[in-house]
């Protein structure tokens, strides 16, 4: 099984804060990989570096065999990486359907920029809205959606361009249990069709139930990586979360 996404010794500091220290992760193609770690361990920063929203101070990011370190966000997207944000970002003044159509350019056969988005793109967008249960809101303004609905919308529009790998940043955060299960089910369905997922989450049930592989980040470095059961029992991981060790390492 090949690694679809790989980071190699990525480091990133913000002033004196070393958010990432030689972080090296691997995401196997076709897997659902979890990325966990205490608050401040650098998970979102790693996402930002991978997707081009932050520059890495050092290290490399690989997609397939290609080096994509420090590529701009629009290029990272074009290469097939989709990503959601911790604080859900949608386009509030546009309708739900329009939100979907922004990324649907790939389904657009016409190369004329002044043309309206064609039927194939719209159909594809509606399919995804159906998939996430938002089809009934297609004409509503995105800002009228509830928090949970926005999360679903963000997931949907990230999927529009058919990315090979999707990075989800806390998809279950602040969401009721029914919706969490819905999201997990959708992820499983998409994974069955071959999509790779890298998920940052704090909700352990969500992670352990969904992910085949889990990587743990603490203070910017990878301290453990493996199947969920092994991670659950790993001493270093427990130490990182609960701060049992004497040297005071905890989840500051």
């Amino acid at each position: 099984m090949t690694a679809l996404l790989r980071t190699e010794a990525v480091s990133k500091a913000f002033g004196g804060v070393h958010a990432l220290s030689e972080a090296s992760i691997e995401v196997t193609e076709g897997s659902i990989t979890g990325l966990i770690g205490p608050n401040g361990s650098g998970k979102t920063t790693l996402f930002n570096v991978i997707t081009g929203y932050e520059r890495a101070d050092s290290g490399q990011v690989y997609l397939g065999g290609q080096v994509i370190t420090n590529a701009k966000p629009e290029r990272v997207f074009a290469l097939g990486i989709g990503r959601t944000f911790q604080l859900t970002r949608i386009f509030p003044s546009m309708t739900v359907l329009e939100n979907m159509l922004i990324a649907a350019r790939h389904h657009e056969r016409s190369r004329n920029p002044l043309a309206r988005m064609g039927a194939p793109a719209r159909r594809h967008a509606m399919e995804l809205l159906d998939f996430t249960g938002l089809a009934g809101h297609a004409g509503a303004l995105a800002q009228s959606l509830s928090y949970g609905q926005r999360k679903l919308l963000e997931l949907a529009y990230v999927l529009v361009a058919d990315p090979a790998i999707v990075l989800l940043d806390e998809p279950a955060g602040g969401v009721n249990p029914t919706l969490i299960n819905q999201i997990a089910a959708r992820v499983k369905d998409l994974n069955a069709t071959g999509k790779t997922f890298l998920i940052v989450e704090h909700n352990m049930d969500f992670v352990m139930g969904l992910c085949g592989q889990v990587t743990v980040l603490d203070h910017g470095t990878v301290i453990a990586s493996g199947p969920p059961e092994a991670i659950r029992r790993d001493a270093l991981v427990l130490d990182a979360y609960l701060g049992v060790a004497e040297d005071g390492h905890g989840d500051q």
């Binding site: 997707t51 929203y53 701009k72 966000p73 629009e74 990272v76 997207f77 074009a78 989709g82 990503r83 944000f85 604080l87 859900t88 970002r89 949608i90 386009f91 509030p92 003044s93 546009m94 309708t95 359907l97 329009e98 159509l101 922004i102 990324a103 350019r105 657009e108 920029p113 002044l114 043309a115 309206r116 988005m117 297609a138 004409g139 800002q143 009228s144 959606l145 509830s146 928090y147 609905q149 926005r150 529009y157 990230v158 361009a161």
Partner: protein
């Protein structure tokens, strides 16, 4: 506007009403100078149409992307001076001068590219100021290059031998043509893929990048598209007024006036800037002519400004649309009360609206 209404057929009838309305307006506009032959009245028409076109063009960039430009007068003035210099150097006369206008547009496009590349790299707040800075540089050049621009004495038009009774009409119809073209273009853009990208940039530029939108390319295109008609209008305006000098060709109040028209009508809509210009330009002309007691008109103008912005922050068209939708919903609800056990749609909407509002505040 791109709402998908399931099976109610409402799109069909709404579309037809809109087209009919637009057609009627166009007919009125075409007939206007033929009916009102008094030059004082058609003068209002010419200048109003110039500002309608200007507001619509400005809106294509600033309204759709949210980057407020206060420097579009650069292109207006450049168009005026370009047309003036070309008319003189190439000895163009009569209605041939109108043929120079597209060239003025090309000139504007050429300078818009480097200006845009520099200006669009910065954040929105900074962008406004950099457009102001560019504006003053251009105004200064107009003052300081008298060999080209005649400096403060201004660049005069040659004598125009149009029939005096219908003198205003050629200018009127050219302005109308520009206005109609820009309105159609604005409408096309708004419903197109390009328009989606522009509006995505306005809502959340960084997020849009993560969905493949290339911000510089999109913004620059809109910038150039909005600059070209400005130059055309500048050239037309020079020929109509008879003279351009640095303070009138590069007038700091020009952009603000245009911006206000767009804001008043509804920033980012197609018809908003049209409505705003139709209201404000005649009002401004009237005020400056009638209220001759000192500078009271300035105070009134500013006060009107304030009232409009504070009371109608989103502009007339969007506020009006909201009122109509609200009224329709209330009517629909009173005609079809929801079955018991289900929340009324507006209550759910209000709940999620509050929720989402709160989410936005904290986000």
């Amino acid at each position: 506007m791109t709402a998908i209404w399931r099976g109610s057929g409402k799109i069909g009838t709404e579309h037809r009403w809109r087209l009919a309305g637009a057609g009627a307006l166009l007919a009125v506009a075409v007939a206007f100078p033929l009916v009102f032959t008094n030059p004082a009245v058609s003068n209002y028409g010419v200048l109003t149409l110039v500002f309608v076109a200007a507001a619509v063009s400005w809106n294509i960039f600033s309204g759709y992307t949210g980057y407020i430009s206060l420097g579009h007068a650069i292109f207006f003035g450049t168009g005026a001076y370009f047309t003036g210099v070309a008319t003189k150097d190439w000895h163009v006369t009569g209605s041939d001068v109108f043929g120079l206008l597209p060239l003025a547009g090309v000139a504007a496009a050429i300078i818009a590219v480097p200006l845009g590349i520099v200006a669009l790299r910065v954040r929105r707040h900074t962008f406004v100021v950099i457009t102001i800075a560019f504006f003053f540089i251009f105004q200064l050049m107009a003052y300081n290059l008298p060999s080209l621009t005649q400096g403060t004495s201004g660049l005069l038009t040659p004598t125009i031998n149009f029939d005096p009774t219908t003198f205003n009409n050629p200018f009127y119809y050219v302005a109308l043509a520009v206005a109609v073209c820009m309105i159609v273009l604005s409408w096309l853009i708004r419903r197109s893929r390009f328009g989606l990208q522009l509006r995505a940039i306005k809502d959340d530029e960084d997020r849009a990048r993560g969905l493949g939108v290339r911000p510089m390319r999109v913004k620059l295109s809109a910038f150039v598209i909005s600059a070209v008609p400005m130059a055309l209008l500048g050239g037309l305006w020079w020929y109509y007024i008879g003279i351009v000098d640095p303070s009138s060709g590069f007038d700091p109040l020009f952009d603000v006036a245009v911006a206000l028209m767009a804001f008043l009508g509804g920033l980012g809509t197609v018809s908003g800037p049209v409505l705003g210009a139709l209201i404000l330009e005649p009002a401004q002309l009237y005020f400056t002519q009638q209220v001759t007691s000192g500078y009271v008109y300035l105070i009134l103008y500013g006060a009107l400004f304030l009232v409009v912005i504070l009371m109608l922050p989103r502009g007339i068209i969007p506020t009006g649309a909201e009122l109509i939708t609200g009224w329709r919903e209330r009517r629909a609800r009173s005609a079809n009360p929801p079955p018991p056990g289900q929340p009324a749609s507006s209550a759910a909407g209000r709940l999620s609206g509050r929720e989402s509002g709160a989410t936005r505040e904290l986000a």
